[in-house]
C-alpha cells in the first residue's frame, strides 16, 4: 500500500513534467548534465489507446509518465538521470472509469539508461481489444528506433550514441555504426 501511495504521489508530481506532443522530443541539444542520459521511449498503441503510462525511475522524483498517446507508434526522447526505469502502470482510455489501470511492474519491462548515451530497450506495445484481450509486450525494434532518431534528432544522435540496453546483447546498432563507417 505504501508503495502504491508513493507511486501515486510520484505520478502526480511528475505529470506536468514531460508535457510533450505525441511524437514528442525535447529538442534541447545542449550537453546533458553529468550523470544524465537520454531515455528513448517507444510505445505502440494497438486497439484502445491508453490514457497514460507511468514508469518507475531510480529516484522517487524521477518517474516519467507518458500522456497524449496516439494510435500507432509514439516516441519520447527525454534527458533523465542514469539508472533503471520500469514500466509500472498503464491507464485505460479514461472514458469509462478514470481510475482503471494495470500494474505491470511484475512484467519486468525496463530500460537501463546509461549516462551520455541515448538508451533504448524496446518498443512497449499496448494491445487493448476489449476486456478479454489486453496484453502488454515488449519488443526490440531498434532498427525502427534508429530510423526515428535519424529523422527527428540527427544532432542528438551524432552527439550521443544510440545504445540498446535490453537483457540480452543485440549487435545490430553497433553493426549499423560499423557498416556506416565502412561505406
Amino acid at each position: 500500500m505504501k508503495a502504491i501511495a508513493y507511486l501515486t504521489l510520484a505520478a502526480l508530481l511528475v505529470l506536468p513534467v514531460p508535457a510533450v506532443p505525441a511524437q514528442g522530443v525535447e529538442r534541447n541539444t545542449e550537453a546533458l548534465k553529468e550523470g544524465y542520459g537520454y531515455l528513448l521511449l517507444a510505445i505502440e498503441s494497438l486497439g484502445t489507446t491508453p490514457n497514460k503510462i507511468l514508469l518507475k525511475g531510480p529516484k522517487l522524483f524521477s518517474s516519467p509518465s507518458v500522456q497524449s498517446i496516439e494510435p500507432g507508434n509514439n516516441y519520447r526522447l527525454m534527458p533523465v538521470p542514469a539508472g533503471r526505469y520500469y514500466f509500472s502502470q498503464v491507464y485505460n482510455d479514461g472514458k469509462k472509469d478514470e481510475s482503471a489501470y494495470w500494474d505491470i511492474l511484475d512484467f519486468d519491462y525496463y530500460i537501463d539508461v546509461k549516462a551520455d548515451t541515448v538508451s533504448y530497450s524496446g518498443h512497449f506495445i499496448s494491445e487493448m481489444y476489449g476486456e478479454q484481450e489486453i496484453d502488454f509486450v515488449y519488443r526490440n525494434r531498434s532498427s525502427q528506433a534508429h530510423e526515428y532518431l535519424r529523422n527527428c534528432c540527427a544532432e542528438i544522435l551524432q552527439r550521443y550514441p544510440l545504445s540498446f540496453t535490453g537483457s540480452y546483447p543485440d549487435p545490430f546498432l553497433d553493426f549499423l555504426k560499423l557498416d556506416q563507417g565502412t561505406q
Partner: protein
C-alpha cells in the same frame, strides 16, 4: 443418404461455375491473375468437417461451411433425412462433443477469441426432429472428457484469471451456475496441472504439466484420498505424456521416450513409479499420438508417419479388421477410422493422401455397407495435382535425410523447375507427404516441390532431434542441400532452375541457403522468417526462463556466442547474397516480430541487392486471412517465374460457356 449425396453433386456444379466466373475478374485485376485465381481455388477451406456420430450410432452431425459462416447439420441414419441443427453465421463453432444420444456440447469462439460452451438438446417424436433447444453453459471453457459411462455428465475446464478449474457438470440439471461453486471444483486441492485424466466415475486421478520447453511433472491421487503426490518428474528432452488411467491395475499408459530413442507406448506403474511394460513400439518411428475409443477405456489406434504418410496402428481387432477391409475395398492404404459409435455399429472413416484433403465414408458394421458421405474439397478434381515420393539423401556427415518430392503432372515430358521448401521449427517439427495446399498450389502451377526433413525434425527419434541442436545455418542447411543435390542427380528436376522458399525457420533457411550456396539457388523467398538470431532473445511475449534456456541450448547463447550467431544470421551476412530475394511478413506476427523484416530490408537496400518486399498489415505468424494467401502466393509465383525464366502462368480453369450455365439453371 441419397439426398445428402444429391445435394453434394449439385453443390459441386455450383462451385465449378462460381470459380470459373470469378476467375475472369481476378485475371483482369491482378498482374499475375491466373496464379491469383488459382490461389483462390487451392486455399479454399473444406466444405465439410467435424463429422461425428452420437453414441448409439443413429445420428451423424457435421459442420458445413457456407460463403458466410457455417451450419451444424444432422443426418438421421434411420430415415436418411438431413436437417439443419444450427445456423452459425459468424462461424463460431470450433468443436463439439456428443454427450449422450440427444445432447451435444458446442465449443464456440467469437471474433474476439472469447470461448464459450453451450448445450444443444435435440428431441425426436416418432423419429422426427421436433425440438432443438440451446442454452449457454460456461464462458472461457472447454470439454475435457465426455464421460461416456455417466449419462448427462461432462468434465469441463474453465479458465479464470490465469487459472483453470475442472467441473463435472450435470447437463440434466436446470441450474448450471450452482454447480460452479467453490466446493464443486474438482481440482480445488490439486496441484497446478494443465491436463487431467479421470476414472470411470469422472473423478480426477492423474494431473500433469508437459511444457515443450520445460520439465514435465505428473501427479496422482488415490481413489479415497484428497492428497496428490508426484509420480514422475522429467527433464525437457524426455517425452512423458499420460494417455489412459487404468483404474483396475493402478497403472497409466504413457507415450514416452524415457531411456530410449523412439517414443513408444508404455505402461507405467503408479505404486512402483516404474515402467513395467511396452505396449506398442513401431521400430524406426516415433509414435506421434494415440486416440482413445468412444468408451474412453481403451486405445483405438496409435499414429506414426512412415515414408511421409500418416499411418495408424489399430489396437483392437475390430479396428484392425475394419481398417484392412476399408483399405482393400477402397484400394488405398490412406484411409483411417476417425470416429465410431459407442456400440461400434457405425464407423466414420476418412480417405486422405497427398493429392486429396479428404473424403468421408460411413461404414455400417451391421449391414456391412460402405457409403461415401462427402468429398471435403470437390473442386480440386479440376486440377492436375502432383504425386509425392519419398527421397533419401546422405548429408555432409553421412546422416541419412528423408525428403518428399512432389512432382507436377507434366514431369514425365519436361523436367520441372524446383522449389525447395524447408519446414519451420526447426526442432521437433516435420514435413509429411500428406495433402498440403501450399505444395499443391505450386505443383499445379508446374513446379516440383522438395520438403526435406532435416536433422532436428520430429518422428525419427530423439537422437535425430538432438542432432539439430545449434545447427542453424550449419548442418541443417547441409541436410537440405544434400536433398536438393540428390533429386538433381537422379534427374527428377531441372537443376538449373532451383529456388528456395519457406516460412519462419524455413524463411531463415531460405535466406541462409541462398547466402551459402548461390551456385545452387537462383532465388530465395522468406515469409515471416527469422533474419537475426539475436532478436529471438529480446523479442518475445513474456519471455519465460524455460523458453530462453531452451533457446540458448538449442539455438545458441547470445552472450557467449554472439559472433557465431552473427555469422549465421542473414542480416549480418546479407552482403554475400548474390541472388534475388522476396521478403514477406505479417505485421501482427507475435512469434517472429516485424523487426526481422525491417532489419533485413534495411541491409538489402543498403547493399543494393535485388529484392521485393511484401508487408501484410493484418497477418500473423502464418496466414489468417484468405486474401493474404492470394496476394502472397500470386506474388511468389511471379517472383519465381521472373528469376527462373519461366513463362507467365496460364489460367488453370477454362471460363464457362453458355451451355454449362444453362445446364445448371
Amino acid at each position: 443418404m441419397t439426398g445428402f449425396r444429391n445435394r453434394l453433386s449439385r453443390l459441386c456444379l455450383l462451385v465449378a461455375i462460381s470459380l470459373a466466373s470469378a476467375s475472369q475478374t481476378a485475371i483482369a485485376e491482378h498482374d499475375n491473375g491466373a496464379a491469383y485465381q488459382h490461389a483462390k481455388d487451392i486455399f479454399r477451406s473444406s466444405i465439410y468437417y467435424l463429422v461425428d456420430s452420437n453414441p448409439e450410432g443413429s445420428l451423424i452431425t457435421y459442420i458445413e461451411r457456407l460463403d458466410h459462416g457455417q451450419r451444424l447439420m444432422l443426418l438421421n441414419l434411420q430415415d436418411e433425412s438431413l436437417q439443419i441443427l444450427l445456423n452459425d453465421l459468424e462461424g463460431k463453432i470450433n468443436h463439439y462433443s456428443w454427450i449422450d444420444n440427444d445432447t451435444l456440447v458446442l465449443h464456440e469462439v467469437d471474433r474476439d477469441y472469447r470461448q464459450s460452451l453451450s448445450q444443444l438438446s435435440i428431441n425426436f417424436i416418432d423419429r422426427q426432429l421436433s425440438n432443438i433447444y440451446q442454452r449457454p453453459l460456461l464462458n472461457n471453457a472447454v470439454v475435457i472428457d465426455t464421460l461416456p459411462y455417466k449419462e448427462d455428465r461432462v468434465l469441463v475446464k474453465q479458465f479464470r484469471e490465469s487459472k483453470s478449474y475442472i467441473y463435472n457438470l450435470n447437463l440434466a440439471a436446470r441450474n448450471i451456475s450452482g454447480q460452479l461453486r467453490n466446493r464443486f471444483k474438482l481440482n480445488r486441492l490439486a496441484p497446478a496441472a494443465e491436463h487431467w485424466l479421470s476414472d470411470t466415475s469422472g473423478a480426477l486421478r492423474i494431473g500433469y504439466v508437459s511444457p515443450r520447453h520445460g520439465a514435465k511433472k505428473v501427479w496422482y491421487r488415490p481413489q479415497d484420498s484428497k492428497r496428490w503426490s508426484i509420480i514422475w518428474e522429467g527433464e525437457k528432452r524426455t517425452t512423458f505424456r499420460p494417455i489412459l488411467f487404468e483404474e483396475d491395475k493402478q497403472q497409466i499408459l504413457v507415450l514416452s521416450n524415457f531411456q530410449r530413442n523412439f517414443v513408444e507406448l508404455l505402461r507405467f506403474d503408479i505404486k512402483t513409479k516404474t515402467f513395467v511394460d511396452t505396449v506398442l513400439k513401431i521400430p524406426g518411428y516415433d509414435i506421434e499420438s494415440v486416440e482413445l475409443n468412444k468408451r474412453r477405456d481403451d486405445i483405438l489406434f496409435a499414429s506414426y508417419t512412415q515414408d511421409g504418410n500418416h499411418r495408424r496402428h489399430y489396437m483392437n481387432e475390430l479396428g484392425d479388421f475394419l481398417s484392412n477391409s476399408l483399405k482393400r475395398d477402397l484400394n488405398t492404404p490412406n484411409i483411417w477410422v476417425v470416429d465410431n459409435s459407442l456400440n461400434d455399429k457405425i464407423i466414420i472413416a476418412l480417405k486422405r493422401d497427398g493429392k486429396n484433403p479428404g473424403i468421408f465414408y460411413l461404414f455400417n458394421t451391421r449391414q456391412w455397407q460402405l457409403t461415401e458421405l462427402a468429398d471435403t474439397q470437390p473442386w480440386l478434381k479440376q486440377f492436375q495435382l502432383g504425386d509425392t515420393l519419398a527421397i533419401t539423401s546422405k548429408s555432409s556427415d553421412d546422416l541419412e535425410i528423408e525428403s518428399y518430392l512432389t512432382l507436377p503432372s507434366n514431369h514425365e515430358t519436361k523436367k520441372a523447375p524446383l522449389i525447395v521448401m524447408p519446414h519451420g521449427g526447426p526442432i521437433s517439427v516435420r514435413s509429411s507427404a500428406d495433402y498440403d495446399p501450399h505444395v499443391q498450389y505450386l505443383a499445379s502451377l508446374g513446379y516440383a516441390v522438395l520438403r526435406p526433413n532435416f536433422r532436428g525434425s520430429s518422428g525419427y527419434g530423439r537422437e535425430f532431434i538432438e542432432a539439430g541442436k545449434q545447427q542453424w545455418g550449419k548442418l541443417i542447411e547441409d541436410d537440405i542441400e544434400s536433398a536438393v543435390r540428390e533429386v538433381i542427380a537422379q534427374g527428377l528436376v531441372d537443376g538449373n532452375k532451383v529456388c528456395i522458399y519457406g516460412s519462419s525457420y524455413g524463411g531463415y533457411s531460405a535466406l541462409m541457403s541462398a547466402i551459402r550456396s548461390p551456385d545452387l539457388f537462383k532465388c530465395a523467398a522468406s515469409y515471416v522468417g527469422v533474419t537475426d538470431i539475436s532478436l529471438m532473445y529480446n523479442n518475445d511475449v513474456h519471455n519465460s526462463n524455460s523458453i530462453l534456456n531452451w533457446r540458448k541450448d538449442y539455438v545458441g547463447d547470445p552472450k557467449a556466442q554472439q559472433q557465431e550467431l552473427m555469422r549465421h544470421s542473414p542480416v549480418y551476412q546479407a552482403q554475400r547474397l548474390t541472388v534475388p530475394v522476396f521478403l514477406a511478413q505479417g505485421e501482427k506476427d507475435r512469434v517472429v516480430d516485424k523487426e526481422h523484416f525491417y532489419r533485413m530490408r534495411h541491409v538489402l537496400e543498403k547493399y543494393g541487392k535485388t529484392a521485393e518486399y511484401l508487408l501484410l498489415p493484418d497477418e500473423v505468424h502464418g496466414f489468417s486471412q484468405l486474401q493474404s494467401y492470394y496476394e502472397f502466393y500470386s506474388r511468389l509465383d511471379a517472383f519465381f517465374r521472373k528469376h527462373l525464366d519461366l513463362p507467365a502462368a496460364a489460367p488453370l480453369i477454362q471460363p464457362p460457356n453458355e451451355h454449362q450455365v444453362s445446364t445448371i439453371e
